[in-house]
């Protein structure tokens, strides 16, 4: 899957670029540098930490833990990749996750609490997904037809969704928000030693990685981000497509809420204020352009794992944790700098 995704992006990316500039193959290679470059950083980090802490860092246990902790951010990152490719942004994901978790949690609370049966669990999951999707679709509609910039729409959404969640709960995490049925399976359960959370995140990544590279939905997403007006003239219903993209982000935030309830057993209303920045950082680290039109799900996977590996690695090696913020900050700025340079090169051609 690894190589096909990368190639797929270039293939779908090329048709929009070719008529404009006739990009030669060597430049196409340059265009993929950011992804390669961040992957090299990831490999280098793993190598450094494995050498510095032999037998402690690159172990099955440790890799599993890194993957478990990255799972929710990965699911959110996949949705964010689509949004950012349309040259949009979604700042509201942390709040939407909380709202979906609260809605599901409240239902669970009044239908059995921690001992709730499987029917309740299924309804809770459905509630979380529907709340997330509807919220995302609403935001998408405002972006598409209201012509309000996504930054503003989702900034408003960030406050509103969190506010509603706080109104519902009175600002406190309700006790008994997650059923032990859900926690013991999705939360802590494993299949052949691999946690279900990781399997779910991997499946989501795989499916939407293919959606982006292999389907009309993905092609439209890339085309709109590249040039929305041209897409419109080519017959893409840009507005309707944007609603779908933001709804997808909402759906995945709802899925994130289910995963959060499963692993943490509580809604953690106050614990999601920086989810958006973490996820946007991951997407940008992965080489998706903030200006739209280019990006890949594989890149986002790398982008999610760089901070995750840094966090774990620095603790395992025993370095003061503040270095982690410094390191992620530097890598982020460098990644966007490379993106800018590449844009200039492309325009010059």
């Amino acid at each position: 899957m690894t190589t096909t995704t990368t190639e797929g992006v270039q293939q779908t990316g090329t048709p929009q670029q070719a008529p404009r500039s006739g990009i030669p193959p060597w430049l196409r290679k340059v265009a993929s540098i950011s992804e390669v470059w961040t992957f090299v950083i990831l490999v280098a980090l793993v190598a450094v930490f494995s050498t510095a802490a032999p037998g402690k860092f690159f172990t099955a246990y440790d890799l599993t833990q890194i993957a478990v902790n990255a799972a929710i951010y990965l699911v959110l990152g996949v949705g964010m990749t689509f949004v950012v490719i349309t040259s949009g942004i979604d700042l509201s994901i942390g709040s939407v996750l909380v709202l979906a978790a609260v809605a599901a949690g409240e239902y669970n609370l009044h239908n059995g609490g921690p001992d709730a049966n499987w029917t309740t669990v299924a309804v809770c999951i459905a509630i979380a997904l529907v709340v997330g999707t509807l919220w995302g679709a609403l935001q998408g509609r405002l972006v598409a037809t209201g012509k309000v910039p996504p930054l503003i729409v989702t900034l408003g959404g960030l406050g509103t969704a969190l506010g509603i969640a706080e109104l519902i709960t009175g600002g406190q995490d309700p006790a008994g928000a997650a059923a032990s049925n859900l926690q013991n399976t999705l939360g802590y359960g494993k299949l052949f030693g691999i946690p279900w959370l990781v399997i779910l995140a991997a499946a989501v990544t795989l499916v939407f990685g293919l959606v982006l590279t292999r389907t009309r939905f993905g092609t439209y997403t890339l085309a709109i981000g590249s040039n929305a007006a041209a897409g419109q003239r080519a017959g893409i219903r840009v507005g309707r497509h944007l609603v779908k993209v933001y709804a997808l982000m909402g759906l995945l935030a709802g899925l994130g809420a289910v995963m959060w309830l499963a692993s943490f057993g509580t809604t953690s209303i106050a614990g999601h204020s920086s989810d958006n920045l973490k996820v946007i950082t991951a997407v940008v680290l992965g080489g998706t352009s903030l200006f739209g039109g280019r990006g890949s799900v594989l890149g986002t996977v790398i982008g999610v794992f760089i901070p995750a590996v840094l966090t774990t690695g620095l603790i395992v090696v025993g370095v003061q944790q503040y270095w982690q913020d410094v390191a992620v900050g530097i890598v982020l700025v460098a990644a966007v700098y490379v993106d800018q340079v590449r844009r200039k090169t492309r325009e010059r051609v």
Partner: protein, 339 residues
């Protein structure tokens, strides 16, 4: 490149706005409740009709709710008008606008839990300069000229209580670590100091460097798992607060180490008590927030009447374990989630 910082700025503004909007709703309901209270008791002499405000660190935290409830009852008994408000998040940029809005209403007394040891000092000095008497509750600021009285749990003592209880649970051996919220908060810094110093009495226990999770359970979960990878002999964790405790419990469950690694947490919030009963936490160090609230109102009332004021008041702490939780002398320390 310049777009990302702009977003962050906007984000901060938005968070602050939301916080203001939500807290404004709360304070109005608070004043209505106390308004009827002040009308009913007229026999309180010099304090009658005086207005006091309470600004807590995190509005929805049962610790502060318990404190607010006790302070409200005490204020009612003394015939004081009482309003309460609190930050939506533990954040200077969220609490400062609250302080400014309360300052504008010029209360006679202000009880506040500052969320930073230094950053809020100028705002508080300004309020104090305008004639409002300030009592610092729970957290405090480094500048000693702020406030007529400082009422808090003896946090260093609390750290010691946690260390002793955790060492006992660990069987006096292995590595121990503190995971806290952020550096620069007076209460948690003191707890860590007390904990670390007390642990030196147990030569077989090695204390690892403190980690900070920014109040995010997901971060705490990842940190505890990383620590387990680096130190397989990890036997005990001291959690800075509830969110951290939840994150640690999740991290340990996912690593299959629940119960093997003993967890001590501060406070006795309802979900922490549930966690103690189901075995994901082993020790709770409970403070007495109700006593803090009552004592602060008493000190302010004394100041209004020109009576002597105690500059520093320490309240008691108790270690709760599964064995003593049903003891009424201990269970009264469990925090409330509503008045």
């Amino acid at each position: 490149m310049s777009r990302t910082p702009t977003r962050r700025h906007l984000l901060a503004v938005a968070v602050a706005t939301v916080a203001l909007a939500t807290t404004a709703a709360c304070s109005s309901s608070g004043s209505t409740a106390s308004g009827s209270g002040s009308g009913s008791s007229a026999a309180a002499g010099g304090t009658s009709g005086k207005k006091i405000a309470l600004i807590t660190g995190v509005k929805s935290d049962p610790f502060y709710i318990t404190m607010t409830c006790a302070a409200q009852d005490e204020a009612k008994a003394k015939g004081l008008q009482f309003i309460a408000d609190g930050s939506a998040q533990w954040d200077v940029s969220v609490q400062r606008p609250l302080i400014d809005s309360v300052a504008a209403s010029q209360p006679n007394g202000l009880m506040i839990s500052p969320v930073d040891t230094n950053a809020l000092t100028p705002s508080l000095k300004q309020i104090q300069g305008a004639g409002t008497k300030i009592a610092l509750v729970d957290t405090s600021v480094t500048d000693p000229s702020v406030g007529i009285s400082r009422i808090s749990s003896d946090n260093e003592k609390g750290g010691q209580v946690a260390a002793d209880a955790l060492a006992k649970q660990m069987g006096d051996k292995g590595s121990a670590i503190v995971i806290s919220v952020k550096p620069g908060i007076s209460t948690t810094d003191d707890r860590i100091k007390g904990f670390t110093e007390e642990m030196t009495k147990y030569p077989n226990i090695k204390v690892l460097p403190t980690l900070y999770d920014n109040d995010e359970p997901a971060t705490a979960a990842s940190q505890i798992q990383s620590t387990l990878a680096a130190h397989p002999d990890l036997g005990g964790v001291f959690a800075g607060n509830t969110n951290t405790g939840q994150g640690i419990a999740t991290g340990l469950s996912q690593a299959g180490k629940q119960g093997q690694v003993k967890v001590a947490a501060f406070d006795a919030e309802p979900d922490e008590v549930a966690a103690l009963k189901n075995g994901s936490l082993q020790v709770l160090v409970a403070q007495d927030p109700a006593a803090i609230g009552r004592e602060a109102v008493d000190q302010l009332a004394a100041a209004f009447n020109g009576q002597p004021v105690q500059a520093s008041v320490g309240t008691t702490m108790v270690a709760i374990t599964k064995d003593n939780i049903n003891d009424p002398g201990v269970s009264k320390y469990v925090y409330k989630s509503g008045c």
